[in-house]
């Protein structure tokens, strides 16, 4: 048995996994542990480098890069087992067998990472904090993801908001785009600047008004906007009252006396419309 430290990201895991694979250390002999001290790793002289060329399909690397961002500490061991089976276990095509027990698990992790990157792009809410002398605006946001997606999720914001300054703070790492330079910093446990933005009130007006009480579909909404994101969405605390009021509003519509039809207006354009031929030429 040996205990190894996968480090914090795909690159660090890859370096360790590569070495283990070359040494032909089977997954059953490895304990992946974040806190492992380097000295627990056997000394370099102790391993025998296997000269076999170990080929790993690109599709596995793509999968591993994504799964590496998952919050589950077991991801490192899972990835190594799959890698082992592909490179050493004679299962060259494993990556294509999405219904294999371990592949299915990895694919599910991949899916939730991709989904959360997408949700980050959707649910990060910037608040404006000011402008610099040149008029360049500065924004901040607080987001709480389940997975380690800050680096993977940030390029989207750089492209979209290249001409603003902004910081996205999260417990799992922070991203800062200031003066056209991107930097990452360690996570923080709470929102470092929680001043509200006056525009949030206008956004809430919009949310309230775009809702149609006659089509209540709460379940559908919660599938797409899970409750765990609500606490950082300025509009979410309206949901309860909108739902509670909806029945009364619809009953009001259904029992309202219908409006009579007003006479046709005197309007040159309407007059012209009425005189157009039924079937336009070449219709």
């Amino acid at each position: 048995m040996r205990t190894v430290d996968p480090g914090e990201n795909f690159e660090s895991w890859r370096a360790v996994a590569k070495r283990l694979l070359q040494e032909a250390v089977s997954p059953a002999e490895v304990i992946w542990e974040g806190d492992a001290l380097p000295c627990l790793f056997e000394e370099p002289t102790a391993y025998k480098v296997n000269a076999d060329k170990l080929v790993v399909p690109a599709a596995f690397m793509d999968l591993a890069k994504c799964v590496a961002c998952h919050g589950d500490p077991e991801r490192w061991a899972l990835l190594y087992r799959i890698l082992w089976r592909i490179a050493r276990g004679g299962e060259r095509s494993l990556i294509e067998i999405s219904s294999d027990y371990e592949m299915a698990r990895a694919r599910r992790m991949e899916k939730s990472v991709r989904r959360e990157i997408h949700k980050m792009h959707a649910f990060v809410r910037f608040r404006k904090t000011g402008e610099d002398d040149t008029g360049r605006e500065r924004f901040v946001a607080w987001f709480e993801p389940d997975h380690f997606i800050i680096e993977a999720g940030t390029p989207f914001f750089v492209k979209r908001f290249a001409n603003m300054d902004w910081s996205i703070f999260t417990p799992k790492g922070c991203a800062h785009w200031i003066g056209g330079i991107l930097k990452f910093s360690p996570g923080c446990s709470s929102d470092p600047c929680d001043d509200p933005d006056a525009m949030e009130e206008i956004w809430r007006v919009y949310y309230r008004s775009i809702f149609n009480p006659a089509r209540l579909k709460l379940k559908m909404m919660q599938t797409e906007m899970p409750k765990r994101y609500w606490k950082n969405l300025p509009e979410a605390d309206l949901i309860e009252s909108l739902v509670a009021e909806s029945r009364g509003r619809v009953d009001g519509m259904l029992t309202k006396t219908p409006r009579e039809v007003r006479p046709v207006l005197k309007n040159a354009y309407l007059e012209k419309l009425r005189n157009l031929p039924e079937e336009p030429e070449g219709g």
Binding site: E96, I97, S98, S99, D100, Y101, A104, H121, A122, F123, R125, F126, K128, F139, F156, F157, V158, K159, R160, F161, A162, N163, M164, M199, E201, I202, V205, Y206, Y207, R208, I210, F211, N212, P213, A214, R215, L216, K217, L218, K219, E224, M225, L233, L242, V243, R247, R249, V250, M253, L254, P258, R259, V261, R262, N267, A268, Y269, L276, E278, G283
Partner: protein, 412 residues
């Protein structure tokens, strides 16, 4: 009236339009520009209202004043709704303020008809032009156009927008004459035809090297379901034409919804949400699964079964096609199996090259076993013949009796 009050009225006025897409634009971002915005990836839904609809764009009317009298519409001239209008500057600022806070993907702008089609269209185009030219806005813009507006104005709209649309609203002229007397089906389709030519032209120019060309990439439309007595077959036949002849990106089906200002001509009733859902499913099967309209709705049944999805309904009518062996069936056959989606079919085709597919494989792909079991043969499963022949097969799929009430517990 302050901005918040205007927004409350003009968003409320726009919410009956179901269109929400923010995908399919030409790829671009703000790194080589002065402004803000990117587009061209998959659409993003930045929020969801409790009606289950995604909030992707700032969807507003420029004004809800209107000289038309469409009886399903809250903004018709006979309605007593409060009236207001945004200035172009207000609409522009609101879009930018929301966009920079990452609330939205862009703007969906429509308008009541004021004075004339051209006058209205000019106002709408003005907002888009200001966003693009003064503010270098590179986010998504969807503009609603009016079939009677001049082709030049519609083409201007298309140059600033990513998506343009004209709503058909009702599938026959008879219904339009009764419920939307100012609208004309032939004129609408003629305008859609012109737009299609312009979209094709722009597509070719981009393909032939004009990468900088700014132009909409598609058009869409909406029909209202349940306002007239059109059948589902009428709607799907109309959609067939819209997708085929006019190359619509999407046809939206919007359940006729109660409005606070009902018309004597069109009594309000609860929105037919299940019917709307089934039409979307049928539409999806036509566009992505190779089903034809006549397969989904044979001549003798003009309406979709509200109890089960249209693919299952087709399979139950065509049991002679089943069971299929998951190991040997073609892709075209597998996508027709109830419970198998496109992605899982592709996965199964990859898997079966390497191994015999068993029920547990399907379970790990999160396929619903109760749903596929009667229709599929796997290495460890052969459905009982009597099951496929049984008149009671449908009972397996019917939902447990629930009240089809909008406000039932499921929705709480």
């Amino acid at each position: 009236m302050d901005l918040a009050e205007k927004l409350a009225i003009l968003a409320d006025a726009a919410k009956y339009d179901a269109s929400c897409a923010s995908s399919g634009a030409n790829k671009r971002d703000s790194r080589d520009g002065k402004g803000v915005g990117s587009a061209g990836g998959s659409g993003i839904c930045h929020s969801y209202a409790p009606d289950g609809r995604c909030i992707s764009l700032l969807k507003i009317l420029l004004t809800n004043r209107c000289i038309y009298d469409c009886h399903y519409c809250i903004n018709r001239r006979s309605s007593n709704v409060r009236r207001t209008a945004f200035t172009a500057e207000e609409a522009v600022t609101l879009t930018l303020d929301f966009y920079k806070r990452n609330y939205i993907e862009g703007l969906f702008l429509s308008s009541g008809i004021v004075r004339s089609a051209d006058h209205t269209m000019e106002q709408v185009v003005q907002v888009a032009r200001t966003l693009r030219e003064q503010h270098d806005f590179r986010g998504y813009i969807h503009l609603k156009t009016i079939p009677e507006a001049s082709p030049e104005l519609i083409e201007q709209a298309a140059r600033y927008a990513d998506r343009i649309s004209i709503n058909l609203e009702l599938p026959t002229q008879v219904s339009l004459d009764r419920l939307a007397p100012e609208k004309n089906l032939a004129r609408t389709q003629q305008a859609m035809g012109r737009i299609k030519l312009k979209l094709d032209e722009a597509h070719d120019r981009r393909k032939n090297g004009d990468r900088k060309l700014r132009h909409a990439t598609g058009q869409s439309t909406q029909v209202i379901v349940g306002a007239d007595d059109s059948t589902d077959a009428d709607f799907l036949a109309r959609s067939d034409v819209l997708y085929g002849t006019y190359k619509m990106r999407r046809v939206y089906y919007s359940a006729f919804s109660p409005i606070p200002e009902p018309s004597v001509v069109l009594p309000v009733k609860a929105a037919p949400l299940v019917r709307e859902h089934r039409l979307y499913q049928a539409d999806w099967l036509m566009r992505n699964y190779g089903f034809s309209t006549s397969e989904i709705l044979p001549a003798e049944t003009p309406n979709l079964d509200l109890r089960i999805d249209p693919k299952l309904a087709w399979a139950l009518r065509n049991r002679q096609e089943f069971p299929l062996d998951v190991q040997t069936a073609t892709r075209g056959q597998l996508v027709r199996v109830p419970g198998l989606g496109l992605r899982n079919v592709d996965r199964l085709i990859a898997i079966r090259r390497h191994t015999r597919v068993r029920l547990e494989d399907l379970a790990r792909l999160r396929v619903s076993l109760p749903k596929v079991r009667p229709f599929l043969i796997t290495a460890d499963h052969h459905p009982a013949r009597y099951l496929l022949d049984s008149d009671r097969l449908i009972d397996r799929f019917l939902p447990k009796p629930v009240q089809l009430d909008l406000f039932d517990d499921e929705n709480r």
